[in-house]
Amino acid sequence: MKKNILAAFALLMSLTGFVSCSDDELGPTIFPVLSDELDPNSSTYPLDRFLRENYLDPYNMRFDYRMSDTEADMNYNLVPASYDNSIKMAVLIKYLWYDVYDQVIKNAVSSEVPNADKFFLKRYGPKMIMLVGSPAYNASTGTKVQGLAESGVKISLFDVNSLDINDIELMNENFFRVMHHEFSHVLNQNVAFSDDFKETSSGLYDPMNWQDKQNEVVRSQGFITPYASSEYSEDFVETIAYYVVSTDEQWASFMDEASKDYEEIEVSAVRPDSTTPSEYEVAKSDGTFIRIISTVEDVQGNPATHKILRVAVQREGSEQLSAPLKDENGNLIYRNDIDNVDGKAIIEQKLSEVKEYLYSGFGIDLDALRHEVLSRTYLTDDNGDFVIDNGNYINRLTYPIKSDPTKTLIDSLVYQVEQYKVNN
C-alpha cells in the first residue's frame, strides 16, 4: 500500500513538474503583426482598394491577381496576369457576374421565390478567385485548361493576358462561360443534381476522346460541347454555361446543328488530271461540306487526303460522293439515322433539367439570369430590346455610355479602380 502511495506521489510530482515547466509567461506572437490597412503608396493600391470594397467586404471573397505558384498546380507552367488585365477582369467579373447574380437573387427574394436566398453569393459564391496570365496546357492530351473550381471554394481563371473585350465570343469562351461553368460545379458540390440527368446520356459519355470530337457531332448526340460529352457533371455545367452567355440566335443555331446528323469521310485532295476536280473539290461544293478536320500530306508536303466533316443527307447513290438528293423545294434531305439520337430534344431536355435544378435549389430563374448577362454584354434600346446592326449584336462594353459619350462602358468600369489613384 505504501509503495502504491509513493508511486502515486511520484507520478503526481512528475506531472506537477511538467506543469511547472509550462508556466512561463507567453511572449508576443512570433508572427509579424499584419495590418489590414492598404498602403496608398503601393503601386497596386487602386486595384487592392477596389477588390477590398467590392469583393472582400461584401462577399468575403479574396481576389488573387498577383500569382503565387503555391496556389497553382506546380505541374503546369504558368505566368501571372498583367496588372492592367487584372483591373479589367476585376471590374468585368463584378459587372458581368457578381452584379448579375445579385440582381437576379434580389428580384427573386423580393418576389418571394421559394429557396431564393438573399445571402446566396455569400453562402455559395467562391471564397477565392485566382487569375492566371497564361493557359494551363496538358501536353499529353493537347488540351488547355481555361478554368478550375476547387472544393467549392476557389475558382481559377487562366489566360487572362489574352483578354480582349472587343471579342465578346472569345471573352465569354475564355472567362465568363468558364466562370458560369465553374460556379455551377460549386453549386453542384453544395446541392447535388438529380440522377435523371445522369441517365439522360448514359453510355454516350467519352472521357478519353472528347477533345477529338467536333461540336456539330456531339450536339447531334445531345451534348452542347465536346467537353460536355466527357462526363455527366461536365455536361450539366456546360449546358448552363453555354445557355447563359448565348444569344437566342446562337442557341437556335446550336439546336439546328443538334437536329442533324453528320459524317466524317476521307477524300483525295489530288486531281486525277488537270481538268477533273479532286474528290475534295467535289465534296466541298455539294452543299453539305462543313470543314476539313485533318489532312495527310505527301512527301512533298502537299495535301494528299483530307478528312472532312459534312452534314449527313440522302444521296443519289451509295458512293460517298454521290450527288445529294433534294426535295421538291430544292432543299437537301437530311438523314437522322446516323447516330439514332435526337440531339436537339436531348439538349432541350437537359436544359429543362438544369433550369429546374437552379430554380428549385436556389430560386434562380436561368432565363432571367441569362437576360441579365446578355443585356449587360450587348447594347439594348430604351425598351430593353437588343440593338441589332447588320444582323449582329453590338458590344456594350466598347460602346459609348449615355452619361458621357466620350467614354465607353469599359472605360467607366475601369474608372471604378482608377478613381483610387493617389496623386503624389
Binding site: 509503495k3 509513493l6 508511486a7 511520484a10 507520478l11 510530482m13 512528475s14 513538474g17 511538467f18 511547472s20 515547466c21 512570433i30 508572427f31 509579424p32 498602403d39 496608398p40 503608396n41 503601393s42 503601386s43 497596386t44 493600391y45 491577381y65 498577383r66 500569382m67 503565387s68 505558384d69 503555391t70 506546380m74 503546369y76 507552367n77 504558368l78 505566368v79 501571372p80 496576369a81 498583367s82 496588372y83 488585365n85 487584372s86 496570365g133 497564361s134 493557359p135 494551363a136 496546357y137 496538358n138 501536353a139 493537347g142 488547355k144 493576358n161
Partner: protein, 465 residues
C-alpha cells in the same frame, strides 16, 4: 511478473520526476535572438532595401533553364519602392530593333518578396519582357521544350544570398541560379528616369560592342585556362552556348555545352556543367563567374582559372592549317594590312606600288595543296595575277616562326626577274621569329606581328573569316 512491473512503473515515475525537475533548472541556449518568422521578415526587409538601394538598377544574369537550347540572358532591372512592396522595370537587348537598341517595359510592374520556405523574390505580375521566358504560350520552335513549357524559365526565385552589391537567386521551379549585380556607375546623387535611360542605353551599346569583340567578329574561340594550367577552347560563343573542349583534344565531337551570360563585368556559366579535361580530369565551370581584370585582357575566376583570347601564334597557325582536303583552301586566312608595314617592309612595298600604279595589291597568308603560302594578288579592274611561294608557320617558344619553302608558283621566277622588289618582299618574312598580339583583347580578327628584336619588321594581318 506483476511485481516486476510495479517496480518498473515505480522506477520510471521517479526517473521522470528527476528529469522533469532537472529540465526546469536548465536554461535553453539562446541560439537565435529572433524568432524564425522575425528572421524571415528581417531577410525580406534586407533584400528589399538592397534591391531598392541601387538607383541605376541591377545587371541580371538570368538562366531560364538548363534544358534544351534556351539561352541565358542579361537583363537590366530597376527596383522602385512602392509602399510596402515595389515595382520592377526591365530592359533587354533586342537585335530586332536595331544596333545598340533595347526593349524596356512601358511601365514598371509590381513584384514582391514573399515567404515560402524562405524569402522568395517573385515577379508576380506579368511583365512583357521578363515573363517571355516563362510564358507557356511562347512557341519559338527553335527553343521548343515541349507543349506548354515555352522557354521554361522561372519568375519566382528563392533568395539565396544578399549583399549590397550582389543578390544570388535560385529559380523555384527549375533550380537554375541567377545573379543580380549592382549596376556600376560613377553617377552620384539622384538618378532621374532620363539619366537612367542614358545609362542603360550606353550599357546596352557597350555590351553589344563587347559581344562583337568577343564573339561575333572573333574568328577564334576564347580560351579557358584552368587553375592547374589545362587549356580549353570555348567555341561558338556567338550562339551564347559554348562548345567547351580541351585544347589537347580540340575535337568538337567531344565538346561539352555550357550556356553563359556575358555582361560588361564578365561572364557567368550556367550552374551545371563540368568539363572533361585531356587527362580525364573534370573541371567544374558551372555557376562560376569570370570578371574582367583591370586592363580587360582576361576574365578571371576566383579559383585561379581565367579566360582570354588564346595564343595568337597558335590561332594564326591553326587558321592556315585547317585546310579543306578537297579545295586545299584554309577555313580562314590572313590578309596583310598594306597600311601597317614597319619601315623594313614599307620601303619595299612602296617601290612595288610605284612600279604598278594601276594595280591593287593584296598579300595574303593562305594555303594550297603545297602547304601554307604567302600569296600576292595583283589586281586591275579587269584581271588578277596571282603569285605565291611556300612560307610555313610554326610555333617556337611562344613566337611565330615563318620558314620559306622551295615550292613557288610557276610564274614566280619570271615576275621576280622583272620586278626584284617582289622577291625582296617575299624574302623579307622567312627565317624570322615574330611576336604576335591581337589588336583588340580577346579578338583574333586582327593580329599585330613584329620580328623578334627588330621593331622595323612589323605588320598586321586581318582574318578573313
Amino acid at each position: 511478473m506483476y511485481s516486476h512491473m510495479k517496480k518498473y512503473i515505480y522506477g520510471l515515475s521517479l526517473l521522470t520526476l528527476t528529469f522533469s525537475a532537472q529540465s526546469c533548472l536548465m536554461e535553453e541556449e539562446d541560439l537565435f535572438s529572433e524568432s524564425a518568422t522575425e528572421r524571415l521578415e528581417n531577410k525580406k526587409v534586407e533584400a528589399f532595401n538592397a534591391l531598392f538601394d541601387s538607383q541605376a538598377g541591377w545587371v541580371m544574369s538570368y538562366f531560364p533553364t538548363v534544358e534544351g537550347s534556351v539561352i541565358g540572358c542579361p537583363f537590366l532591372v530597376k527596383f522602385n519602392r512602392s509602399g510596402e512592396d515595389g515595382t520592377a522595370l526591365f530592359a533587354v537587348q533586342n537585335d530586332s530593333v536595331g544596333t545598340g537598341k533595347y526593349m524596356v517595359n512601358d511601365a514598371p510592374t509590381p513584384f514582391d518578396i514573399v515567404f515560402d520556405n524562405g524569402p522568395v523574390l517573385t515577379f508576380n505580375s506579368y511583365n512583357d519582357i521578363f515573363h517571355a521566358f516563362s510564358d507557356p504560350k511562347e512557341t519559338d520552335w527553335s527553343f521548343d521544350q515541349g507543349m506548354g513549357i515555352g522557354l521554361g524559365g522561372d519568375y519566382e526565385f528563392i533568395i539565396i544570398d544578399v549583399t549590397p552589391d550582389e543578390v544570388l537567386l535560385k529559380g523555384k521551379k527549375r533550380g537554375t541560379y541567377t545573379v543580380l549585380r549592382k549596376f556600376d556607375t560613377t553617377e552620384t546623387g539622384e538618378i532621374t528616369s532620363e539619366k537612367l535611360g542614358e545609362l542603360w542605353r550606353k550599357y546596352m551599346t557597350d555590351l553589344e560592342s563587347l559581344n562583337k569583340q568577343l564573339y561575333k567578329s572573333n574568328p577564334a574561340p576564347l580560351r579557358l585556362v584552368s587553375a592547374n594550367g589545362t587549356e580549353y577552347y570555348l567555341y561558338n560563343g556567338d550562339s551564347y552556348i559554348f562548345d567547351v573542349v580541351s585544347v589537347a583534344e580540340n575535337d568538337l565531337a567531344y565538346a561539352t555545352q555550357s550556356k553563359y551570360v556575358q555582361t560588361l563585368d564578365g561572364l557567368r556559366f550556367i550552374s551545371e556543367p563540368s568539363v572533361e579535361g585531356d587527362n580525364g580530369e573534370d573541371i567544374i565551370i558551372g555557376g562560376k563567374d569570370y570578371f574582367f581584370n583591370e586592363d580587360k585582357t582576361k576574365m578571371v575566376c576566383s579559383d585561379g582559372s581565367y579566360i582570354d583570347g588564346g595564343d595568337p601564334v597558335q590561332v594564326f597557325i591553326n587558321a592556315l592549317k585547317d585546310v579543306n582536303v578537297v579545295t586545299g583552301k584554309p577555313a580562314n586566312d590572313w590578309v596583310l594590312d598594306n597600311n601597317s608595314y614597319g619601315s623594313d617592309l614599307k620601303v619595299i612595298y612602296d617601290k612595288i606600288a610605284a612600279k604598278f600604279p594601276a594595280y591593287k595589291f593584296e598579300f595574303r597568308f593562305t594555303a594550297n595543296l603545297n602547304g601554307q603560302i604567302l600569296l600576292l594578288k595583283l589586281m586591275t579592274s579587269s584581271s588578277t595575277t596571282e603569285v605565291w611561294r611556300v612560307l610555313s608557320p610554326s610555333a617556337k617558344d611562344g613566337l611565330l616562326s615563318l620558314t620559306a619553302g622551295d615550292y613557288k608558283s610557276s610564274n614566280y621566277d619570271k615576275l621576280v626577274a622583272g620586278t626584284p622588289e617582289i622577291g625582296q618582299f617575299f624574302d623579307a618574312f622567312g627565317g624570322k621569329l615574330y611576336k604576335a598580339a591581337p589588336a583588340a583583347a580577346f579578338n583574333m580578327g586582327t593580329l599585330n606581328l613584329e620580328a623578334d628584336g627588330n621593331a622595323n619588321m612589323s605588320f598586321s594581318v586581318i582574318n578573313t573569316k
